[in-house]
Symmetry: C2
Subunit: 197 residues, 2 copies
């Protein structure tokens, strides 16, 4: 692939510039035209790299899905379904410390901007699909059956609740927030009134 006009920007560069503008001026207040200008490229080019403005806030989400899948596959056959899911969810959300600030900015936007909250539904459908496929294999049914689907939805709920907690409480760590949420799930909400991590 050495022929043709060389690209004048990259996926990552646009995402980085956009995230910066979103964080400083707000998501809605930032137009695609402004992002294009900041990158030094035409507006039309932006849409060549991203299908929508919403998609710019997700980093490399496919990479997260890959990690999730990998961790699920390496799970012990004797581990219970919920424990396997919990473990994979936690491990796939381990980040080097230097990436956490950017992750926090992204998740803050996603959990607070209505347009992004809504759009997250579409992104998380892929996440649920990974869980559903794993659960389906464990249970010996099709991924679109109600059991795998419910497990996938509930697991996503736990992850979402954990992430939201982390976004709103910068002093706590992400792993702990997710751990707490998944524990509640595993216990069927049979939580003693005193304990609420």
């Amino acid at each position: 692939m050495t022929t043709g006009r060389p690209p004048s920007t990259t996926h990552d560069q646009i995402a980085s510039v956009a995230l910066d503008l979103f964080a400083r001026r707000g998501f809605e207040a930032t137009t695609v035209e402004e992002i294009a200008a900041a990158v030094g490229v035409g507006r039309r080019t932006i849409f060549h790299y991203f299908p929508s403005k919403n998609d710019m806030v997700w980093g490399n989400f496919d990479w997260v899905l890959d990690r999730l899948r990998t961790h699920l596959e390496e799970s012990d056959e004797e581990t219970s379904l919920i424990d396997a899911v919990r473990r994979a969810a936690l491990l796939s959300n381990r980040y080097p410390a230097e990436q956490l600030p950017e992750l926090r900015i992204r998740m803050t936007l996603i959990t607070s901007v209505p347009a992004l909250q809504a759009h997250s539904m579409l992104r998380y459908a892929a996440w649920r699909q990974v869980i559903a496929e794993f659960a389906a294999e464990r249970l010996g049914v099709a991924p679109n059956e109600i059991a795998p689907q419910t497990i996938a939805h509930a697991a996503l709920g736990a992850s979402t609740a954990g992430f939201t907690r982390w976004v709103e409480h910068p002093e706590e760590d992400l792993d702990g927030c997710l751990e707490t949420a998944y524990r509640l799930l595993a216990e069927g909400f049979a939580t003693p009134a005193g304990d609420q991590g």
Copy 2:
């Protein structure tokens, strides 16, 4: 309310006309201008009744929320949290038979059109809030704590999985689909029939 110009249409009429057009021509292919023309009203008037095209697909969702809240409040103090939530979710989704076809059309749109899938996130936030407030009172913590939030997210996941199942399997009944999903939740995904019913 006897003074001023009388309204030339109603919330319900617009919703009904819109739903019909969506079902026949598709959601994306139907423009707001077409809906306005079908109702016999200006385009601008439509946006006086609905904040967005997406919102037209939901019927009286506030009414569902009220029913959910009512059923939660009337729950026995001795009933476990998850059982109270399950019972309220099931009861608030009982519809007279003649309303089911329209409900199915709505839910089919919501679960299949990407823009509506995304938008549902915003509507369901209110649903989760009702659950979270109930769970919070039961647990003696604030509604935005992780336990009520996780429970709310997971319950929504069960409802969503149940509804999706019902949409894709017209021969099954809604109550049964929801029941199955909530049972999985209550048992912490433990497949064998467990202790807690």
